[in-house]
């Protein structure tokens, strides 16, 4: 047996997953409270003890961890035009697994600086202007950032003509210059910024947040948890090469939904651009191949009212079969008592409707849209965002969903809807459910043993057998 331990320090729970590299089997999973206030190692030790109760004692040959504890990787970004460099900066940060606490466009004001100080981000991403383009905005913003009272590293990824000047203005702070997130108009170049963010996370954040006490217990804190999720999703979609040169196939383009108590994260792995031969013109920034969006107002408990606002009480009442007044009453109760899990048919029906509403809303926001135009040459279409209609695989994860019964039905809320035909959502798909909650762990493992991680995922993500 060659056991490996994979650890996810979450904001509430420390989750551990053990796999055997020899048999490529999942040995077990377990969790305990995250103990960031005292010593993060305590919660970890407790989780491992619980795991070993199930599996027997394990001699781990390696221990790898990802983390979203202590607020995760909290970032603020600034750019120039909202839908251009400010959007590129946001995409870069989300893709690096950050929790975005603010996105600013145009010139920062004194009020903004006060807000930034109050937020005290882990990293600030400063962008604006294409290479050789606008200089004034990023220079002004560097001047303003220099007046911040709190200290945080600044990553400069804007107009290269003035990157050095910006760095000088920020002298005395930790500053990193990387390639522009938008070097040419309309070109997205987010990887250099992401790599730098990852590097700072490893070097500085991990230490600052008290993980060092656990350093002796683990080999490496590799990345923020959302990055681990993204790596798992990319591997699952694309497949990988085995050491002998043969190919371990993936399942193809996919969409993943992670419905939590406070937020709903959506991941898509696909090109999503208009297909050749169609009368469709693409507008806006090119979309990242692996895209992550986070809906901060959509979640099953802390953000329960956000779901209600987005889909309406009528929708929840209709899906759950519970009268609207009673729905409102139950939603208020759950919003106040966030730890409550469904115990009877009524509360199960409500959670079913809420989860459907969460997925419908978050996937609609993630997916692109078409607009119809009548031109002299007939109808033309304009696409913004990613076209997900050809995606045939949907992955469902998140504590709120993996225990539900009608998960396939819930996931179908992600499908293309004839009532909203211009929203580019998947037309049909197989639903895969992360029953054992192992995706982030497999993303971690994929950095070292991709073939093993992929085969375990394919085995464990039991197909729900739901198709439409």
């Amino acid at each position: 047996m060659r056991p490996v331990l994979l650890i996810d320090f979450g904001s509430t729970y420390t989750k551990v997953t053990a796999v055997d590299l020899e048999t490529e089997e999942l040995l077990g999973t377990s969790q305990s409270w995250t103990t960031i206030q005292t010593d993060i190692g305590e919660g970890l030790a407790d989780a491992v003890a619980k795991l070993e109760e199930k599996t027997g004692p394990l001699q781990f040959e390696a221990r790898y961890a990802c983390s979203s504890a202590a607020g995760g990787l909290r970032m603020i970004t600034s750019g120039l035009v909202p839908e251009l460099t400010a959007e590129a900066a946001k995409q870069a940060s989300l893709g690096a697994g950050a929790k975005i606490r603010g996105v600013y466009s145009f010139e920062l004001t004194e009020d903004d600086i006060e807000d930034i100080d109050a937020e005290h981000p882990d990293i600030f991403l400063l962008t604006g202007g294409t290479d050789g383009g606008n200089k004034e905005c990023i220079l002004h913003n560097a001047d303003m950032l220099a007046t911040c009272k709190t200290d945080f590293p600044v990553v400069i990824a804007g107009n290269r003509s003035v990157a050095r000047t910006c760095a000088k203005k920020l002298e005395g702070r930790e500053v990193h210059i990387v390639e522009n997130v938008m070097p040419k108009f309309g070109a997205l170049n987010i990887k250099p910024a992401q790599d730098k963010i990852r590097e700072i996370f490893l070097k500085r954040i991990v230490e600052a947040k008290g993980y060092t006490k656990a350093q002796s217990l683990i080999d490496n804190i590799a990345m923020p948890t959302p990055s681990a999720m993204m790596q798992a999703m990319q591997l699952l979609a694309e497949g990988c090469e085995n050491p002998d040169g043969s190919k371990e196939t993936g399942i193809g383009d996919l969409l993943a939904v992670d419905v939590g108590g406070a937020t709903t994260d959506i991941y898509s792995v696909c090109d999503g651009m208009p297909r050749a031969g169609m009368d469709t013109i693409f507008k806006g920034l090119p979309e990242p191949y692996i895209k992550r969006t986070v809906e901060g107002d959509i979640g099953m408990r802390y953000s329960i009212h956000g779901i209600e606002e987005a889909v309406g009480t009528g929708y929840i009442s209709q899906l759950s079969g519970i009268p609207e007044d009673r729905c409102r009453e139950m939603i208020d109760y759950l919003g106040r008592n966030t730890e409550v899990v469904p115990t009877d048919a009524e509360s199960e029906a409500l959670d079913f409707a809420l989860a459907s509403g969460a997925i419908k809303t978050a996937v609609t926001r993630h997916a692109g849209r078409l607009e119809e135009f009548y031109t002299m040459n007939g109808i033309a279409y304009m696409q913004t965002g990613k076209d997900l209609r050809e995606i045939r695989q949907i992955i469902v994860t998140g504590g709120s969903l993996i225990h539900t019964k009608r998960t396939g039905k819930i996931a179908s809320a992600a499908f293309w809807d004839p009532q909203d035909p211009f929203s580019l959502k998947p037309k049909q798909a197989d639903i895969w459910v992360d029953r054992s909650y192992i995706l982030a762990a497999m993303g971690l493992l994929s950095g070292y043993y991709p073939g093993t991680a992929l085969r375990i995922m394919k085995k464990e993500l039991k197909k729900d057998g739901y198709q439409e």
Partner: protein, 137 residues
């Protein structure tokens, strides 16, 4: 001397792609940096692109006859967005029907365009105007 940057596109719900490609080539060959937004470009897109790239001129093409409606208010929006004094050019079949071009030109100049060009203008004419307006040569 720094290269001048032009933002180029076909305004409105107009899908005529050939002319704008020819202009793109001609302006590049003449030594300009060109941000070609292609077809079906809204006023807002022209402005956003010009802000982000620090452009020196916005070059509006229109071939389907609705140019006058599409162009209305562009100068005011540029002013509002902080692009005060940016050069605005327009060219193509910019109005429907037969009109004396001097009349059409006046209408577009009243709307805040620096130059307007009739159908069939040689790209070199426009390039010469740009050089004159930028005080190149």
């Amino acid at each position: 001397m720094e290269k001048k940057t032009l933002v180029l596109g076909v305004i409105g719900a107009d899908v005529h792609a050939v002319g704008v490609s020819i202009l793109n080539r001609a302006f590049l060959d003449a030594g300009f940096d060109v941000v070609n937004l292609g077809v079906m470009v809204s006023q807002e897109e022209f402005i956003s692109a010009a802000i982000e790239t620090g452009a020196d001129a916005i070059m509006v093409s229109s071939l389907y006859g609705q140019g006058e409606l599409d162009c209305r208010g562009l100068r005011e929006k540029c002013d509002e967005a902080g692009l005060k004094g940016i050069l605005l050019y327009v060219g193509g079949n910019i109005v429907i029907g037969k009109h004396e071009f001097s009349e059409v030109e006046k209408r577009f100049k009243d709307m805040g365009f620096d130059r307007a060009f009739p159908p069939g203008t040689d790209p070199q004419t426009t390039i010469d105007c740009l050089k004159e307006d930028f005080h190149l040569n």
